[in-house]
C-alpha cells in the first residue's frame, strides 16, 4: 500500500499509548512493551509496499504486536531458569496470559462501534467517577495510589471503579457476547 511518512508518523503517535498500555498489561514490563510497539510499527513500515491498499493498518500493527508478545511470553515459559524462579500462581498467570493473547482477535477491536459505546458511557459519568476511572485505566494507577493522590479513601476509590466497570459491562454486553460467539468457530 501507499503511505507517506507524515501519515505514518501520526499513526505512530496516535496508537502509541494505548498499544503500549495493552502490551504492558501482558508483558508486565514498560520498557519491553515500548520496544515491541516500535518494532511492530517498523515491521509495518518495511512491509507496507507488499500490503493491499485497503489494509486496516491499526489492526495489522496490533496483530504484529500481539504476535511479538506471544513469542516473548512463550520464550519465558520455555525458559527453565525463569520458571523455576516463579511461584505456581505466577506460572498459571503466565499461561493464562499466553492463552488470552492467542484468542485475542485484533480486528474485533475495530468493530461494533466500540469507541462510540465507550465514549457515550464515560461521558455520562460524574466528574469524580470519570477522574478516578481515568487514573485507574489510562494511567494504570492502583487503588492505593489513586487514594493517595486524590485524598479519597480507598473504599471511595473502589466504589467509583466498581460503578464504572458495572456500567461498562452492561453497555458492552452485546459486544462481548459477539466475541464469545466468534471463538466458537475459530
Amino acid at each position: 500500500m501507499q503511505l507517506d511518512s507524515k501519515t505514518f508518523n501520526s499513526l505512530f503517535t496516535d496508537y502509541r499509548s494505548r498499544y503500549v498500555r495493552f502490551a504492558v498489561s501482558y508483558l508486565k514490563d514498560d520498557f519491553l512493551a515500548e520496544d515491541l510497539y516500535v518494532e511492530s510499527m517498523m515491521t509495518f513500515w518495511q512491509n507496507r509496499e507488499s500490503l493491499p491498499q485497503d489494509t486496516n493498518v491499526p489492526a495489522y500493527v496490533l496483530r504484529t504486536l500481539r504476535n511479538k508478545c506471544i513469542d516473548y511470553l512463550r520464550r519465558c515459559r520455555l525458559n527453565q531458569d525463569y520458571c523455576d524462579s516463579k511461584g505456581k500462581a505466577e506460572i498459571w498467570d503466565l499461561d493464562f496470559r499466553i492463552s488470552s493473547l492467542e484468542k485475542f482477535v485484533p480486528e474485533n477491536v475495530f468493530k461494533h462501534e466500540i469507541e462510540k459505546v465507550l465514549r457515550d458511557t464515560l461521558a455520562g459519568l460524574s466528574d469524580e467517577s470519570r477522574r478516578v476511572f481515568t487514573m485507574s485505566r489510562r494511567y494504570g494507577l492502583s487503588v492505593k495510589e489513586i487514594a493517595a493522590v486524590t485524598g479519597l479513601t480507598e473504599k471511595g476509590v473502589e466504589y467509583h471503579i466498581t460503578k464504572v466497570n458495572k456500567l461498562l459491562r452492561v453497555q458492552l454486553k452485546d459486544y462481548l457476547a459477539a466475541l464469545a460467539f466468534v471463538y466458537l468457530f475459530f
Partner: protein, 315 residues
Amino acid sequence: MEINRDIFFKFFNGELSENESIELISWAEKSQDNYAMLEKERQLFDLLNLAPEECFAEPEVKVRRLTFVWKALSVAAGVAALIAAALFLRTPDKSQYMVADTVVTAPAGSRSLVNLPDGTQVWLNAGSSMTYSALPGKDGKREVSLEGQARFDVSKDEAHPFVVHTYLADIEVLGTSFDVIADKDRGLFETALFTGKVSITTPDGKTSCVLSPSQKVILGDKKLLLGSIENYDIYNWIDGLYCFRDRPFSQIILDMEKYFGTQIDCQVASAVADEKLTGKFRVSDGLDFALKVLQISLDFNYTFDESNESVIITD
C-alpha cells in the same frame, strides 16, 4: 476474599497478593464456567486498555506518571556513594577550613526548629535527622541531606539554590515553603509544595519534574506520581498535631513511636493491623490518651511497662 469483578481487574493489573492470586486461580479452575468468565473479563480489560485516549478525555486530571528507573536507581545510588567517598578522599578542600558537617536530630517524641546560617528555617519532625554544612558547596549551592520528615521555609537567594538530598531524589529550590518525607526504611517519599517552586530529580537524572504550589509528588508503586494536595491536615505536625487519613493501624503505630518517643511492640493479628483509620491527635495529650481513643474504633489491649518506656499492644 470474595470473588467479584473488581478482583479480576486487580489480577490482570498484578495488584493481588500471592495468596489472593492463589484463591482466584483455584476459583477459576473449579469449573469451566468460572474459567470462561475470567477469559471474558480479560477481553473487557483489553478493550478498555485499547480504548482511544479521547474516551477518557479529562483535562483536570493532574496525575502524571514519571518514567522512573527503579533498578537503575539503586545501582546509581551505590555508585554515587562510591563517587562521593572518592571525592571526599581526594579533594580535602572542605577540611582545609576545619568545618565539619553539622548533624541535627530531632529525638523521637519531640520536634526541633533549626535556623540555618542563610536564614532558612527548618522544622524537623520527631525521629528525623538533617545534615548540613555551614559553607556553601561547590557551584555555590546550599545543600542539606534529610532522613525523615521536615518542613522547609527557604530564604530567597537565587544565586545560591537550596538543595535537599534524600535517599530517593534531590529537591532543588529557589525560595519557598514545602514539606518533605523521605523515610527509606518504610519506603516513603513525599514532597508537598505550599508556596514558590521546587524541582525534583532522581539521581539518574532521567526523572525530573517541577512542582507548582499546592501540588505534591509521592512515591507510588515504583513510580513517582504528581498530584494536587487535597488534604492539608497531615501537614499540621509542626503545630504538634498528628493527623492520619485512611491509614493502616500498623503504620499509625510506627508513626506514633516517633511522635511520642515510646517504643511500641505491636503483636496484633493482621486483620487488626491492616484496619484503616482516620483521625487526629494532639501530641501533648500523650500516648495513653491516643491509644484510648483508638480503642473506641478498634478492638485491642495495651499495657505500659513499669518504666513507661515501652508499650505492648495485643489482641
